[in-house]
């Protein structure tokens, strides 16, 4: 049989994609916009004015986000452990919390936290103080608790409480998913070696689960940074609040909001690059 056999390389070539098509144009556009704004801030007096006014809020935004995020991780881990717990009370309390909080808008949660949960818990603490004053050995500590006053907790503190409450529910679900993604055999192996449930969680399940949930946790940090703008309703002087104030004062909406957006975007984009980097690093380890 000597039919004409096709030579290698005779077939039609795949269409060549030009290099231009592959360029990340969106990133270039963002970079361009950023350069424009930075340039404006440096040169235009109006932008300079807006930036100088709003930049005071950066620290507040970051501080509120970081503290609230840390608290939401702690709360989320506890609630998340409840979601996978076989203890009926713990499981149901955790699920109750998650289902309620996830179904309410973050803004409402923040208002609840600031004006309901924080004042009520302070009253509880005062009550506890009253009780302790009567018990002689604890009187000193009790008096200190009695004297805690709602005035001592400023609005940014209340805002942190609200944000942390809301995000704890989301983090709980992240932790739950991470824990449940670990093969059943791991828990069985740990338990069969004589570890109790808590030891098995602590030394075997959680170290593996935490590694897996790092990317979603990073994404939630970014989401929280953005949602922290909601605390401006409590008149906390974060980026958003100061931007609103600046606009109200100068009627320079365009400049005020551009500066705000630029500040948020530069923070979220650098965070998301960090998350991607971590993700890739984790990917190598697997």
């Amino acid at each position: 049989m000597t039919t004409a056999t096709k030579k290698i390389g005779e077939g039609r070539l795949l269409p060549v994609t030009s290099r231009l098509e592959k360029l990340p144009w969106w990133a270039l556009l963002i970079a361009l916009a950023a350069v424009l704004i930075v340039f404006s801030i440096l040169t235009s007096p109006v932008y300079q004015d807006a930036f100088n006014f709003i930049k005071e809020g950066i620290v507040t935004t970051i501080r509120v986000t970081v503290i609230a995020y840390g608290l939401s991780l702690i709360g989320g881990l506890i609630v998340g452990l409840g979601r996978v717990s076989k203890n009926v009370v713990f499981y149901n309390l955790a699920t109750f919390y998650v289902e309620i909080v996830r179904g309410i808008p973050m803004l409402v949660i923040i208002l609840y936290g600031a004006f309901v949960v924080v004042p009520l818990s302070l009253e509880l603490i005062n009550g506890l103080g009253n009780l302790m004053v009567r018990l002689v050995p604890l009187a000193g500590f009790g008096r200190a608790l009695q004297q805690i006053d709602i005035q001592q907790v400023d609005m940014s503190g209340r805002a942190i409480a609200g944000l942390a409450m809301g995000y704890a529910a989301f983090e709980a679900e992240v932790f739950r998913a991470g824990i449940q993604s670990i093969e059943k055999g791991q828990m069985e192996a740990a338990r069969s070696l004589g570890m109790n449930y808590i030891q098995a969680m602590r030394y075997v399940i959680l170290p593996q689960a935490l590694r897996r949930v790092l990317p979603p946790l990073g994404n939630d940090l970014i989401a929280m940074l953005k949602d922290s703008s909601l605390i401006s309703v409590l008149a906390v002087r974060d980026i958003t609040q100061l931007g609103k104030l600046y606009r109200a004062r100068s009627f320079r909406s365009f400049e005020a909001y551009n500066t705000m957006a630029f500040l948020y975007l530069s923070m979220t984009l650098s965070l998301s690059m960090l998350v991607k980097f971590l993700e890739r690093k984790m990917g190598h380890e697997r």
Partner: protein
């Protein structure tokens, strides 16, 4: 049932269902100290379930299991203390992937047996030598072959100095050329006098080490006996049919 102190495991009329599936329907047997018991049977016969009931990875619905004098289903029994005395080796190895080989073997020694780091490490190295891979101490599980992983799993269980070792189809997930290295360790362990309950169809192991064979089908023990007798003239028709397929 007689309370013979030589009977380290006493299983009495144990039943277990998963939903509608009756995995065990009244199983009774005993294992003596130093005995090597092999459980065989078709898939779904309940042999793995029975094995996992011994250290309460599955909780029986009824019946009683006594391990080394501890009534396993009694509420006063601290299951974790008994489990530390009962090693189990799984089909899927179940090594801890985030820890190195040596850390895998040290972990439970440290937190369950409360051994000091040096002591745990020394013991771990000794167990690794016993299973023939001392050079893999610092490797991670995913860097090892299946046979090596299973040997680490055996070392991890042995490091607790258990009184009993359970094996749940330890070679079923292995490539054929790796089965021998695992079986060799198991045979050595049996020769060393360890009490073992093994779910496996490895006839090489059965011939080399088994003292007694139990044949299970549909959640019941159909027949049991010493290997020579058991293979030469099985009494039950069901046993004969099964053996004709695997031998």
């Amino acid at each position: 049932m007689s309370a013979n102190p030589d009977d380290i495991i006493q299983i009495d009329n144990v039943a277990k269902s998963f939903g509608k599936i009756k995995a065990l329907q009244g199983v009774s047997t005993t294992v003596r100290r130093g005995e090597v018991l092999v459980i065989i049977g078709p898939s779904g016969s309940g042999k793995s379930t029975l094995l996992r009931c011994i250290n309460m990875l599955e909780r029986p619905d009824s019946g009683s299991i006594i391990v080394d004098g501890n009534s396993m289903m009694h509420r006063d029994t601290d299951i974790n203390i008994v489990r530390a005395e009962v090693g189990i080796v799984f089909q899927q190895f179940n090594l801890f992937p985030h820890l190195t080989v040596i850390e895998n073997i040290m972990l439970a020694q440290r937190i369950v047996r409360k051994r000091k780091p040096e002591e745990a490490r020394q013991n771990a190295e000794q167990q690794l030598k016993y299973v023939g891979i001392p050079e893999k101490a610092e490797a991670f599980p995913h860097e090892l072959s299946g046979g090596q992983q299973q040997r680490v799993a055996i070392a991890r269980a042995l490091a607790m100095n258990p009184k009993i070792m359970l094996f749940d189809e330890p070679t079923s997930a292995l490539d054929p050329e790796m089965i021998k290295e695992v079986l060799d360790v198991m045979v050595a362990l049996a020769k060393g006098g360890m009490t073992m309950v093994v779910v496996s169809h490895e006839m090489g192991f059965v011939r080399a080490a088994a003292h007694r064979i139990v044949f299970m089908d549909q959640g019941r023990i159909v027949e049991e006996g010493v290997p020579e007798e058991f293979f030469k003239n099985p009494r039950e028709e069901r046993t004969r049919a099964f053996l004709s397929k695997i031998l």
